[in-house]
């Protein structure tokens, strides 16, 4: 197959399969709508370019998530110092939730709180929670992030603890 055609075909496959996940990833890092749109487009360009080197040694999904998270990482590094203080999962697990008494019954409110929680996390932990929320299995999270299986398991355990504590009233669905 012609390389350029293969690159375009792979990109189209990736964009249709993971386009929405890329937007959610951007939302977790960039609150400003215009900058977020730029970030999403930068990720798409990087994914398209990267397919010139795709060798099939990992799945398309792993490749796409790696590229997307790496683009975001490099942008976060560029604006180092302009971001608010971030916390680790461990620190978050040991602090009290400001909203403990508040019921996260409304879907919109729950989503806002979930997003706010994700945005306070350090990049390393943020990657894990984002992949967890996308239903990526632990082995793939390790493959994407570079964390050991043991570390991924520990972090997911922490994430579940934090989410369970902060959203223990559950989420009310409209339907």
């Amino acid at each position: 197959m012609d390389t350029a055609v293969g690159q375009d075909a792979l990109y189209e496959q990736a964009a249709s399969g993971y386009g929405a996940a890329i937007e959610r990833l951007a939302r977790a890092y960039e609150p400003d709508a215009d900058k977020r749109r730029d970030l999403v487009q930068d990720i798409h360009v990087a994914i398209w370019r990267s397919f010139a080197n795709f060798d099939g040694r990992c799945s398309l999904r792993t490749w796409v998530y790696r590229v997307a998270h790496n683009v975001v990482t490099s942008q976060v590094l560029r604006r180092r110092g302009k971001t608010p203080a971030l916390v680790s999962l461990d620190a978050l697990a040991s602090t009290a939730d400001d909203h403990d008494g508040e019921r996260a019954a409304d879907r919109h409110l729950a989503l806002e709180r979930l997003l706010a929680l994700v945005q306070t996390l350090e990049p390393l932990d943020r990657r894990v929670i984002l992949l967890y929320l996308e239903d990526i299995d632990a082995a793939s999270i390790g493959e994407i992030t570079g964390l050991s299986a043991g570390n991924v398991a520990t972090k997911i355990h922490r994430i579940k603890q934090i989410l369970s504590r902060r959203f223990h009233h559950g989420v009310t669905h409209d339907a």
Partner: protein
Amino acid sequence: MTHEDLSDLNKLWQDQPAERLPMTVEDIRNRAGRLEKKVGWRNLREYAGAAFVVIGCAAFGWREKNVTVLIGAAFMVLGTLYVVYHLHRFGAVRSMPSDLGRKDCLDFHRAQLVRQRELLRGVWWWYLMPMVPGWALIMIGRAIERPERRLFALGATAVFVVTYVVIGKLNERGARILQQWIDGLDRAR
């Protein structure tokens, strides 16, 4: 309906409304082209800045009769060219690396931090020291030529040295902070 199951949160996350920006392959190619052009302009601006310094030094040395000062000006030009070359070669990320998908996030993040740390750590060798020979020769040349202004040359050299030490120390501090981040990533693995 209320659910206790955490998987509801995953569903909530995944169900959030998406804009799904329409991006065709053609759009992507156009944007990639625009990004390349942006990088090209940025490079051109840097070359223009370097050319400005070189022309300035050449103009300064053109009518200079003092050979020591003249050689100093030539060293300043060489020093500037070296700094620009180093910044261009190892400095800011020009465009996204093409191997983004081959590296896991920790490897990629670490490589970026190491690159920045090396740039800060080596600031003495690629940014500060290349200017020293030129500066020293100009000062020595002037001091020989006009002995009555030696005190001025000494004062200017003191300011030069203090500025350099402050820049060097600040960069070393930055490199130490980056090293802590790198150590943190290594521990996280």
